[in-house]
């Protein structure tokens, strides 16, 4: 633990990549399992204290959402965490990916509500019917996640910036291009380059 802490300090990066050690991630998986099996409010409270500030940061990044809506989103996501914990499978996904997906879906739904979309669909309905569950693929997914963590620090700032715009601020490629005053092609190629560097693309 101590060593991990020192490394964090030494890297001196703007953002610290918490959760990069397996131990931490497991702590949150355990919380979810306790919530699911025992409706454990203490575990939920721990989970809230860690993730609610991240969800709020996610809601506020891009600054298109008001503080009131950001608080509303935090509540909505955390309530879903409680209600859906039984669907969490630690073998399939990391707790943070699971929460991120809920947060992303809730944000999409909130934006659509605010834009008065008249749709029968919620963002979570877009999840494919059955997800592949081969153990080998899952092991690879875990490795790929660790690798993304490690490689993130070496990403050139312009590529990291675009990823943040697209993923955290929820800007489309075209919106990101307009905001950064870059040609659309440049934005797309930076995203693609970043994905290559992080070794996310699967060879076909």
């Amino acid at each position: 633990m101590r060593r991990a802490f020192v490394e964090d300090r030494e890297s001196g990066s703007v953002t610290s990549w918490q959760g990069s050690s397996g131990r931490r991630t497991d702590e949150w998986s355990e919380c979810l399992t306790l919530i699911a099996s025992k409706e454990d409010r203490a575990a939920f409270t721990r989970f809230f204290r860690h993730f609610a500030p991240l969800i709020k940061a996610f809601a506020l990044s891009g600054s298109t959402m008001s503080a009131t809506h950001a608080d509303e989103l935090v509540q909505e996501v955390m309530l879903k965490v409680w209600q859906k914990a039984r669907g969490f499978d630690p073998e399939r996904a990391a707790a943070s990916t699971w929460v991120y997906t809920i947060a992303r879906n809730c944000r999409t739904d909130m934006f659509r509500r605010l834009q008065k979309f008249n749709t029968p669909l919620a963002a979570e309905d877009f999840t494919p019917d059955q997800e592949p569950a081969e153990p080998f693929a899952m092991l690879q997914t875990r490795r790929s996640r660790d690798r993304i963590h490690e490689l993130m620090a070496s990403l050139p700032p312009d590529q990291a910036q675009i990823l943040a715009k697209v993923y955290m601020e929820g800007k489309s490629h075209a919106e990101a291009a307009a905001e950064l005053d870059l040609p659309l092609g440049t934005v797309k190629s930076r995203v693609r380059l970043a994905i290559q560097k992080l070794q996310i693309q699967i060879d076909r």
């Binding site: 996610f58 409680w82 999409t108």
Partner: protein, 218 residues
């Protein structure tokens, strides 16, 4: 297994949740036919999670925690159950839901002797979401696209100058690509098409129809 896939740009937009609703529905439907793209999407979502964990936390007050704790006993909202729909066949549950059943329950509009179109409501104000039924061996007259078009083969298959497509295959075309798809001889073809501008027939015999092909978004 599908041979034609959305590229990494489209999958990234989908995974990041920044893709328009109608297009997302089309990608999601393709994922049902394609474990490979599902895995790719999962990885792209992992990237989102890594970025999420790296955010600088924004303080959240105790009052917020109290408010959520007080709501934990609420009944969760009813969510759409997928169980019943899977029995209906191989069609992705999302599509069955938008169609309120299967192809037979749709209202089909005859465009030419071999082409019928059914418009499906998604609620996306900018994109038309339609099913195309092409008779076996039938040809859609040569046409262009003013905007973008996503196509997903749901049944049978078709071919054009660029290739031959079967169930689960995904094709994306942009601006002013002109083509004349022909359904395979053996079976009627049903495709999903998501457009942000109406198609335009280019042959003189069919051009008169263009004024009837308004974009039906919504």
């Amino acid at each position: 297994m599908a041979k034609f896939h959305p590229d990494i740009d489209l999958l990234t937009e989908y995974a990041a949740g920044i893709m328009p609703l109608a297009q997302s529905a089309c990608i999601s439907a393709h994922l049902n036919y394609c474990p490979q793209c599902q895995r790719q999407t999962a990885r792209l979502q992992d990237l989102g999670a890594v970025l999420f964990e790296g955010l600088t936390p924004e303080p959240v007050g105790e009052a917020q925690l109290e408010a959520v704790l007080a709501r934990l006993d609420e009944q969760p909202p009813l969510s759409y159950s997928r169980a019943g729909s899977v029995a209906g066949g191989r069609l992705p549950a999302l599509l069955q839901r938008l169609m309120n059943g299967d192809f037979s329950e749709l209202v089909w509009k005859k465009i030419t002797s071999s082409l019928r179109i059914s418009y499906v409501k998604t609620g996306d104000p900018n994109y038309e979401f339609a099913l195309y039924h092409i008779k076996a061996g039938g040809r859609i007259p040569e046409h262009k696209h003013r905007g973008s078009e996503m196509t997903l083969v749901l049944q049978g298959g078709f071919s054009d100058a660029a290739g031959s497509y079967h169930e689960g295959d995904f094709i994306y075309r942009e601006l002013d690509d002109s083509h004349a798809p022909t359904a395979l001889q053996t079976e009627d073809c049903i495709c999903l098409a998501v457009l942000d501008a109406p198609l335009r027939f280019t042959g003189w015999q069919y051009r008169w129809m263009n004024s009837f092909l308004q974009l039906r978004a919504g």
